[in-house]
Symmetry: D2
Subunit: 341 residues, 4 copies
């Protein structure tokens, strides 16, 4: 199987290339980048020196990719640009795994409220949002195009969805606070992302209107079978990689910390990439960096009758590129963990 990565020079593109170079069942034959066309892979991603197999960036061109022998194509592009490629590649029969937001939201109106005009709305029916641990497996045959989930949504949905679905937690008064390493913003060359600005600095941002909220709420609502709105408060913290999410949510009457853990255990007991920690031990982003895991934990507060759920992940790995490879593994029939441990 030959695979390619379009837009391989961002942080998630970089990790994706690294994972695919080491994957036992696929061959990375194509990396493209508008700005780095003609440069060698190791020149652009120096950490790959010695394992880059001599790959050279080609220009990003949808038609030539459509005409290539690639079996699957990963899109590591900004939203909008991803749809532009998808609308050429999908009709050409390529399996497309998109890391952008373009096909994460099935409701066109919601998408356009957060992201502006959609470049390929006609593909929405063929697209599936796939969070492998939660999305029913029918996607493997139905999808022509898969949207890999965002980094924040993964950290919120994995702990929350089973509990909402099984009536352990309230559908109201859900508050998720997330802190993310700076790579979550991508390789944007802006003053606010300079070392001196971000080191020793924490701030909330995107309150009320962060784009990932649309994706989180649509998924929560689909799984809960009823519209869910929630508070999502993201923060930037001085580290390179990692997301820690803390969710406060009222317990449903009768729910206990035991029933919460039993629910998680039922859903994730055999999931290779979800680790459930004992109540009282909190996940640490550092323990997940470089892995495809989400670590989970929860406590119950008898005074407030809330559960406090905590999760940690590597935003570039399980939050982006590792999860995209996991999706590919499942879609192409490889072992789920191939190339990921």
């Amino acid at each position: 199987m030959n695979v390619g990565v379009v837009g391989a020079s961002g942080y998630s593109g970089e990790l994706l290339v690294k994972l695919l170079l080491g994957h036992p069942h696929v061959r990375l034959t194509t990396v493209t980048s508008r700005t780095n066309a003609g440069k060698s892979l190791k020149q652009v991603i120096p950490s790959l020196r010695g394992v880059d197999r001599g790959l050279i960036f080609s220009d990003s061109n949808a038609e030539s990719l459509a005409a290539s022998t690639l079996d699957a194509v990963f899109l590591a592009l900004p939203h909008g640009a991803a749809a532009d490629f998808a609308k050429v590649l999908v009709p050409a029969g390529k399996r497309v795994i998109d890391l952008s937001a373009d096909f994460r939201i099935s409701n066109l109106e919601t998408y356009e409220r957060y992201y502006g005009k959609h470049h390929a709305p006609e593909l929405l029916p063929q697209a599936r949002f796939v969070l492998p641990e939660l999305t029913p497996t029918a996607w493997k045959t139905e999808a022509k195009l898969v949207a890999a989930p965002g980094c924040y949504p993964t950290s919120v949905l994995v702990p929350l969805v089973p509990l909402l679905k099984h009536g352990i937690v309230s559908r109201e008064h859900i508050v998720a606070n997330s802190v993310s390493g700076v790579s979550g913003a991508g390789r944007k060359v802006e003053e606010t992302y300079l070392y001196v600005e971000r080191a020793e600095s924490v701030k909330a941002y995107g309150l009320v209107k962060h784009r990932h909220l649309a994706e989180i709420e649509e998924q929560l609502s689909l799984h809960a079978g009823t519209p869910i709105v929630m508070q999502f408060n993201p923060h930037l913290v001085p580290m390179r990689r990692g997301i820690a999410t803390t969710i406060t949510v009222p317990a449903v009457a009768g729910a206990t910390i035991e029933s919460l853990y039993a629910t998680w255990q039922a859903v994730y007991g055999s999931a290779p990439f979800v680790q459930i920690l004992p109540s009282g031990e909190t996940p640490d982003t550092a323990h997940t960096v470089g892995t495809n895991r989400v670590d989970l934990s929860a406590v119950y507060d008898p005074r407030t009758r809330n559960f406090v759920l905590t999760s940690a992940e590597d935003n570039l790995f399980k939050g982006a590129s590792g999860q995209a490879v996991q999706i590919m593994n499942l879609w192409l029939g490889f072992p789920e963990t191939a190339g990921l441990v």
Copy 2:
């Protein structure tokens, strides 16, 4: 006026010494430390080289401090030890400003549930918890002993108290998430505080049962005139100094972002150490480091009908030593900002 610092070798003791050495109206004559007795100040706090005025640490001895010419004494000690000193110094007529938790909680039972046996409960009636911007001014004459607030409580109480008191926000479903720099844990030599463990790592800790919760809830309840319980989720993040707090709380029917800002403005409009930022601009801990400020902001979410309040401060400055000096200024009749800008 002569002042002394007992326990001057922790992080907040260090900043306190620095502030008092530069204070225009007091003279720091005494610094004590059990472990550093006999060493010079600059040897223990090398950043003071050249401005240390030749001070030498003496051993920490309550009786000799009681017999000294000191007018005011700051206690920068662990809880328990602080009460041991206070019970000698207060009867001797020294004005005592305590940075520990020993006199922050007026309810003895609550104190002992979180901290164990109180070493000087007989002093509680003479002690006052003073958050200068919120505590009614009667404390200046009533107090024999002042408890300076904790770092997390300051970051929660400043944004929240006026809104609770004036009926802008709900008394239920209050969720505060805080992230703190590592100096918040003090100079504890434990594996979890090693550079390699904390750099590039975020985790929640002390969920449900953090000690500062007792102090926060007692103050909220006193100001609101009714018992308040809330969720408080603290986190450690990889920076040295700073606390950012994000509070999600339902709006009371009829409350608007304008009425919220008007309330803050009424309470803090002339407070030199509270800065109110426009809605949509979030406080950044980096902007407060090295200052005695708390920066505040808020947004309203019409979808959830919550307010999201954000605050930032320097945990060692406004969260500890700077606030202690501010308290001293007010107590001794100096300008509130003396030695602090």
Copy 3:
């Protein structure tokens, strides 16, 4: 005395403004910035909220500054631009303190080899490079224009000059390795200065040809009375502020660690901003951050017959803005430490 800062929005401009706002003997009346004209000081430098005295950035215009009532003007501008302002302000009788490289190098040819065409070579005879602890005091009356030293040069010259001058160390085989915090590069919005690129990363840069080398070697040569060439190896390390320099240099026959320390003591014994540490105790940048100090130490290696000299400073403080204020203090007849401790 009224003073102004031209180009007040870079990192050193920011610290300069902060120091001048708190200075007891001057009044900062003017801050200019081409990009921030019309904005308030606290909007551009949020850490000054509450102490900004309502200052507003005006546009940077040499003629209007020349016509103003300013007594002294600080130039915190890129090289070239600084000379453009100086050639208007100096003839107008303003005392100019320049933080750029434009007047640090008296040899025009050397300057132009490193920096390109000089914009005001006619001013060179009236300009003086002033490192207060080393430059003979005649500058106070001779200078019309003072060049404040660069950050790296300060960290190299303070330890090395007295030893070269007094024949303690060799004039050959001098090797200086410096590591600098990222603010040394200024507020340049380039990919290499992004948080994710610099955190957890160290690299040498500018080997053989760093611009500060010209300034270092000219000063060493002037003080030694003979041309000196040396190796200067700068590195970027993941911190915001601070420079640590380690100089390896052969001992002259007969020189001992005692004679080295005696020489330093003779030159710096009463200097308020140079601290000499005992041999074996090495300076730590963290101890100097926020101070105008250079800390020094040295060891002798009997195996190699080298001395190893170490220095630490805050690159924005003693390496830039603090030193500029120290120069102003001496030039205008204030106490040397005014506004700096």
Copy 4:
């Protein structure tokens, strides 16, 4: 092949375990730790959750290891303790790879000057110091016990040895400055290694007398065929992993940057773990973290007639555990890169 790790709970032990768990040709069956005996591997090293294969720490006992079915044993222990294990395991026929300093120095007197009494001097003749890219291959059959090189020595020897051996650089006036991430100090719970102490702080340490100097000089002398002494200046910088070394050394008359690169190319052209960068491009530790590589570069300074050599590596990987696995691969006849890319 079954392998074990003694002392698996330090930072290098942790990485070693991770590498051996993923190695295609060996089976990690035993992990020991005095302090963690009885605990699960994933409890002690949470980043291994999900891939820990249920391993449990056993107590560290030399006799039971000697009696086991292990083919090879890695010692990740402090010096002294390593020799205690080696003197039981080597006679029992186990292949021992030691990551401590105990067998890195063949000269007993030198060893004891730096480290104190040797616990197993009788093993020195059977031990070999192996830096795979430089040590002649005879060690594969001669050695009963292999000492893996230290982190600093690897970063100094790889660039320097070929140049000394082939007469490109002087044998005198060699100056190596290294900066290391904090994990280089191991998991020592001491105040100086606390997050707050090390973040935003750089300092030199161990000047003149760092223990790695003994190892560096012995190897340089062996390869050069003549005694070499040099200056070695190590520094701690605020990052977790990585060493960058900058070596200043006079060029031998007639040597050019081309002859230097030709020498490196001849020695390392087919080495999978040494990457030679073009002159002018400097290695960055961040590009080597998580790899077994040393990246090299050099420039010539015609003014000083020095070469400046730069290297970067991951101190825990090529500087410790990765190199130990590379040694195992060569010793046991596996491909050199097995389990390392």
